[in-house]
Symmetry: D2
């Protein structure tokens, strides 16, 4: 018998991937989005927001380790970390593995998704929301950045893709990055969409950050549940993960991280930060930047 209960994830009007659903665990409509928590045959438990798989229990470690650790390990024992977005709590979980971190502030716009995560996504947050170093703020990330009085050693931007006219779209612009820079002492990282499906967005985010910070680099990983490559951009005026050697990465992991990493180590660092020639050439030739008046967007 053929599978009949499906999630069809559309990357463009010409492409979609079908994942068979073995079970629906929970469904919730929030003022911001439609959340569905399912079990996939291939990926196990997975969170879908507005038709996009956010992360799955079997491979979320790839995305979250790649987002968090290269940045934090490139900095000088970061203590005060800000996370924008990151509703599942897994980015928070990875940040808290760093022994140097004294305070992790997570700012998310959608209280319903946070409650949903607390209740259903135990495998993701693993109690991180209750960690005494955690501070949770329900607020629009852009407003928080403009109004906060604090400065941070690291800012981790873990937002949904810049979908046209969505709340996230303006959080991938030069003006927003300038606001971020004002509150950052160390460095920042942002997820930068899929080089497989929106290479131009990835490269515009990279080029936009180059206008604001002195040292900017990218990494690329393959995430099965995202059906392709995923990109990150790291930016700072002082240091940058790309400068770390394989050996230095392994050394810092053993010194500074509590708990096991499954994806990131020295050799993985090499594969992430070495960029295939045709993508490298595309990035180098990028001239566009994303601004409030002309923000980049992923294909609808």
């Amino acid at each position: 018998m053929y599978e009949w209960h499906w999630h069809l994830e559309w990357q463009t009007p010409y492409e979609f991937h079908g994942h068979a659903i073995s079970k629906v665990i929970a469904e919730q409509r929030t003022p911001y989005q439609r959340a569905l928590l399912v079990e996939f045959y291939r990926f196990g438990k997975a969170l879908i927001l507005d038709g996009k798989i956010q992360s799955s229990v079997v491979d979320e470690f790839i995305y979250h380790e790649a987002l968090v650790h290269p940045l934090l390990l490139s900095l000088n024992y970061p203590e005060n970390v800000l996370i924008l977005g990151g509703g599942e709590g897994a980015t928070l979980r990875e940040v808290l593995k760093h022994k140097s971190v004294r305070k992790a502030t997570m700012v998310d716009i959608d209280p319903v998704v946070i409650d949903f995560a607390k209740k259903y996504l135990q495998e993701w947050h693993q109690g991180a929301f209750d960690n005494p170093r955690t501070k949770l703020v329900i607020e629009d990330g852009s407003k928080f950045v403009r109004e906060t009085k604090e400065t941070y050693d690291a800012v981790i931007i873990d937002l949904t893709d810049p979908i046209k006219d969505s709340p996230s779209q303006l959080l991938y612009t030069k003006e927003f990055y300038e606001d971020i820079k004002k509150i950052t002492k160390g460095g920042i990282v942002t997820q930068a969409t899929s080089p497989s499906f929106s290479l131009d967005v990835f490269s515009v985010v990279y080029n936009t950050l180059k206008q604001v910070f002195k040292k900017v680099s990218v990494s690329i990983v393959y995430v099965p549940a995202f059906d392709g490559l995923w990109g990150f951009v790291y930016a700072s005026d002082n240091s940058n993960p790309i400068e770390l050697s394989k050996e230095e990465v392994d050394k810092r992991i053993s010194e500074r991280i509590e708990g096991k990493l499954r994806f990131y180590d020295g050799e993985t660092h090499n594969t992430m930060f070495s960029i295939p020639k045709y993508i490298r050439e595309f990035l180098e030739n990028e001239k566009r930047i994303s601004t409030m008046s002309n923000p980049i967007a992923v294909p609808a």
Copy 2:
């Protein structure tokens, strides 16, 4: 209006990817397979054999460069090269870029696919079939290997996946690799299926080759048209691409290759041969091997 003409590529009974077809160029049933040449919105012209995209005009360079150049550049000016499979002629094209190569023998079982390629896949072979250094043999690869009197500097195995009960399945076994070794002076490479969809096949091929050759390594690339990662295994008793430094790769490319490469260079070499931690651990723990009596197969 929604797209209505589709190729649905099934990776497992629980997964498929849909690619919209803008045009059908040619269709052909052969005694061995059903060939369809289409134009995709995303990938342009693409060859589909038995429901599997073999390669597309926009990204075939990734697969074919990754298959051919690391092996040939790791060897000492290879002259006599054997290709098993490789119907489109693009593997042949890449081999012929090596100035040292004096003879490239390509052995393919399916004459109808070869004629189809000659007629329709000009962008792939780019005239390689007519190169005076090319020798084309229509024969079962396993029979050819047992009967040939020649020895080769390099053997490149570019066959369809080991589908259960297909002609290719037994060409991923220890016994076949032993036969290959008898006719090889330098080194060999085989495509080794997708680490995304058949990680166990990839790792069994790796472990099987480790039983036969002294130096064995893997590389992994992301191929958009294959909807995930693709793996290769390189094997030799003397040398191995993984031993090449980034700088040495760039040097050998400029000395030994005629024509431009789009994918492979020193930095790409680093990303291909650095394996993410979780895949590395999987490979290292592999104990199974593929044999004639118990051959590995991809999921049906």
Copy 3:
């Protein structure tokens, strides 16, 4: 944005229909089947058992009225009615509209589905399970028929399709119909699968019943949620719905039925019992019968 949450209903390996799901209401695995209650954009609330839409709130009235009323109105004021299957409770609901009915016994194999129906399918049963004339028996229908001491004025067979090796398959055989005949004083009706997707099953059921009863007729209706035509076979030794005129149908409805019908009346009777020429010829030429040793099955 494209719809992403889908039910794909496979009619054959070459055909499926996709229905977008707006909401999942409940899911339940029973020892017999996997039940999913969803909301479709097109059909509203709908019950899916093992990947087959059983009925939807917007069009279940077509199937259930067509199943029940032609038979009961063709009989002489039936009092004691037996229903085999009919888990949703809608067949029961229609039977209870007949003022002559004093007792409606419903026999279903799956207690979990019955509890599911009582709890979630209020729009279907509309309280029928609690009607004092209702008697609910959880038991295998075939066992019940062999062991009951009662006889019935009408037997209504509302089972899942004869899927190969499913519990239902043997309840479409000559032997089973002979068992049924022993406990029937008036007439019987069975759902007979889709003339669109399994015309041969429909016609074999028809021909099988002709071996057991003197008067046998078919009707065909179009049910949107079934994505095609649906067939019924009515059988009796004494009377048969096909003998009713349009006017007589309207007269009996007004005399004998309490509550409004939305589908069935005299003119609908004419369209149901007049069979298009090409189907009629197919039915007339049917020679096969379904037996315990060689039971008919729908395509897997």
Copy 4:
């Protein structure tokens, strides 16, 4: 192995049907549409225009017989028949079966589709284009109707659905029907889209024709390749197919038609013209009409 080459026919953004393609026979882009001729496992050879199955070799007889014969048999030996649209030539083929017809004029806007039909759709037209009684005119149907000097015994409107902003949309309006009436002595029929997917269009066409003609009726058939019901509206000031008895239909077929009918006869007439209660009520309550300034359209 799962089928991988598919036609997905979208009825609405929430519904589609997938038909597996066994072979592509021909593809053609015209200035008006994209034509694809395929072989389906279920339906055999089938013509697809702009993503909509126009007709398939195994069931086109249902649509074409239902369109043509009730109208022509209700008239008094029609001699001069006009067909608007009908590119495949099958409507023409059915018209020519009437011995009384002396001239059949077919007007179609798309010469490329006509050439395509002549070349590839032999099973449809069966030589009808070469019949000496046939007159083929390549022209916009609405222009032809306004400019012709002839009058016709019957006008058969066999156009694509009223898709928003397509050439056909205005040919389902009151004004167009008034133009048609001026050149019609007997009666007319139009295809009227699917009561399953666009019941409102069907009923608006019915109500619009009631404003222009004295006697108007509808018939409904089930066409497998259209994945649902299909509707027709017949209109005249003098006579109407709905007035024919079953016996009269059979008599006129045997007297006036040359060659065998597979779908239409007296009993089929009864099932076509008897309308299920819920559709009948919908039709009777329709108040809207389609006009040039406010034309009806099928869902995009």
